[in-house]
């Protein structure tokens, strides 16, 4: 056998988004502000997933302004509406939709005033990138002007939104129920190289296809997929929190081994857009789901390379060599028979 062998494997996955068992909900406030800018307040901030940018995009789109003109309030139980927790791949879906609703309400207030001012139907109004115009007419103004006019008429264009998911909890006996509003699906292919001298596995390529409903920020989604894959790879190959009689033996990052830049594969992402019919934005979520298929895709690839089935994570070099040894023994056994 050559010292190194390649193999490929695939794994599919699914994941539930927007919890319904304990009713998920999120609220938001929006205000079109001077200069054609906006203030949006909801109870979230970044945990790194890019939610603030996404919310700014959604608000900008709904209000007809630019994302950088949106100021997002901090997550503060005393100053902002409840948006519940930052996790469970719920931010885009729950908070994104509640902000969309809040912004729509603010926009409608503004549009009603401008429609009257221009003496056109409000349904003809359309705003994008800071410019408001009435379709089929030559009427047009900046959003800055529109806000000034609106306020001049005594109206502050504000709105609020609340969004929830529908479903039921699980039956205690047979578990039947509709616990999540939406399910997303994914598939990843992994290509690995196994070193038969050391037992090391290098993951050289991952092709990741994930349904995101609607890709609001494609680069941000890729970032989530890449990060999730590398966490999945860490769990697949090296990470292992260990205790002996309750005492940890992996106290720090010298013992708890995480992937570095040298361990990561080339990652090719395919964003599949199967719009969610149940929500205004049509987007789903990606934060957690992208991690799910990585480890099994890698294990299936290892099997393809060397015929060793790893059933216990992580697939350390030691387990790989052990597996090869057992396989050799089995083959010899068969040959001897």
């Amino acid at each position: 056998m050559e010292r190194t062998v390649r193999g490929r494997g695939v794994a599919a996955s699914w994941y539930g988004i927007a919890r319904t068992a304990t009713i998920d909900r999120a609220g938001a406030w929006a205000e079109l502000d001077d200069g054609g800018t906006a203030k949006v307040v909801t109870g979230v901030t970044e945990i790194g997933e890019g939610i603030l940018t996404l919310l700014a995009q959604v608000a900008a789109e709904e209000l007809g302004i630019r994302p950088e003109q949106v100021t997002l309030g901090d997550n503060d139980t005393a100053r902002s509406p409840e948006a519940a927790h930052a996790g469970a791949t719920r931010q885009t879906y729950m908070v994104g939709n509640s902000i969309a609703l809040a912004c729509r309400e603010a926009r409608e207030k503004l549009f009603a005033e401008i429609a009257e001012y221009w003496d056109v139907e409000a349904t003809l109004l359309h705003a994008f990138d800071g410019i408001l115009h009435a379709e089929g007419t030559n009427k047009s103004m900046t959003m800055a002007e529109a806000v000034a006019i609106c306020k001049g008429r005594g109206v502050v264009p504000v709105g609020s939104g609340s969004f929830t998911a529908h479903g039921t909890g699980l039956d205690p006996v047979d578990g039947s129920g509709a616990p999540w509003q939406v399910y997303v699906f994914g598939t990843q292919v992994a290509e690995v190289e196994v070193d038969t001298v050391t037992g090391e596995v290098q993951v050289l390529g991952i092709w990741a296809a994930h349904d995101v409903g609607r890709a609001i920020n494609p680069r941000g989604i890729e970032g989530q997929i890449e990060g999730a894959i590398v966490q999945g790879l860490g769990q697949a190959l090296m990470e292992d929190y260990q205790t002996v009689e309750g005492h940890t033996t992996t106290h720090g990052f010298a013992k708890y081994i995480l992937p570095t830049a040298l361990d990561v594969p080339e990652i090719t992402s395919f964003l599949v857009e199967d719009r969610d019919p149940l929500s205004p934005l049509g987007a789903k979520g990606i934060g957690e789901p992208a991690l799910v298929p990585t480890a099994p895709a890698i294990m299936n690839a290892i099997y393809d390379a060397i015929g060793v089935r790893i059933t216990s994570l992580p697939a350390t070099p030691e387990k790989i060599l052990q597996g090869l040894k057992e396989k050799r023994r089995r083959n010899e056994g068969i040959a001897a028979e």
């Binding site: 050391t198 090296m238 940890t248 060599l321 040894k325």
Partner: protein, 304 residues
Amino acid sequence: MLSCRSYQMPKSLAEALALWRGAPEGSRLIAGATDILPWAREGRAGDVEIDTLIDLSRVAELSGYQQKDGRIRLGANVVWQDFLTDPVLARSLPCMPFCSVWFADDQIRQQATLAGNLVNASPAADGTPPVIALNGDIEIARLDGDTVVTRTMPVADFISGPGRTDLKPGEIVVAVTVDALPGYGGSYQKVGQRRSLVISSVCCAAVVKTDPSGKVFEDVRLALGGVGPKPMRLTETEAMLRGKAISADLIERASAGPVDLVASRTRVDYRRTVVRGFVRAAVEDALAHAAQSAQSEEKETANA
């Protein structure tokens, strides 16, 4: 968390030795600090209060290296990155660049010293196998009255077990002297759990020289790390190869020998399997590099 009452940065060896001799119980020498600082943390030594830390990094006599009589004397303050970036060291110590590139990361290599690595004497240290393959001697200084006296001993004897060395109270390591082997090919095989910032599970250093035809092993030096309480020089394997015609079969047979030397307390099976493959890979890899370095030496001669 490390605390100290006093932090000293002597500029000369005599000053350092005097401070060290006079330092209260529990004081420590420090070079790159890359072993000491992580040691003083929870899960290891915890919060440590040290009286005096004597930092050797500005001691003039410990810096730089000298070449003499086919040997290189590496001052105790030579850091790991030097083996990669200094062309003389890279050429004369053919296994060191390969070892160094596996050592910690680019940043720690700027701080961490080879001497600190040897004194720390971890069974998994990357510094010891290549140094013993290069017949390394360690030079140790102490004060006798007011005069600085030194003694020298093989690194292989200096390290007596995990974390144990022959260093005596009041002594400071001043240099490590190793064979200069230009024209040899070097190799360093290492496996851990990833490829950067990683402690060796097993490592193997090799330097090999062939005759001008490239068909006979003229010299072979091999050492293993990570497989027992201290690093091991593979003298028997070396003897099997030295002077023999190079063949895959010979290398294969020679690499079976060291397997039984594995004396680790854990993962013995794994280490045995790897050792066999590593000895073979190290010899083959070093041979390939020997061919390259023979070529480049030839080119240099031709150009001259």
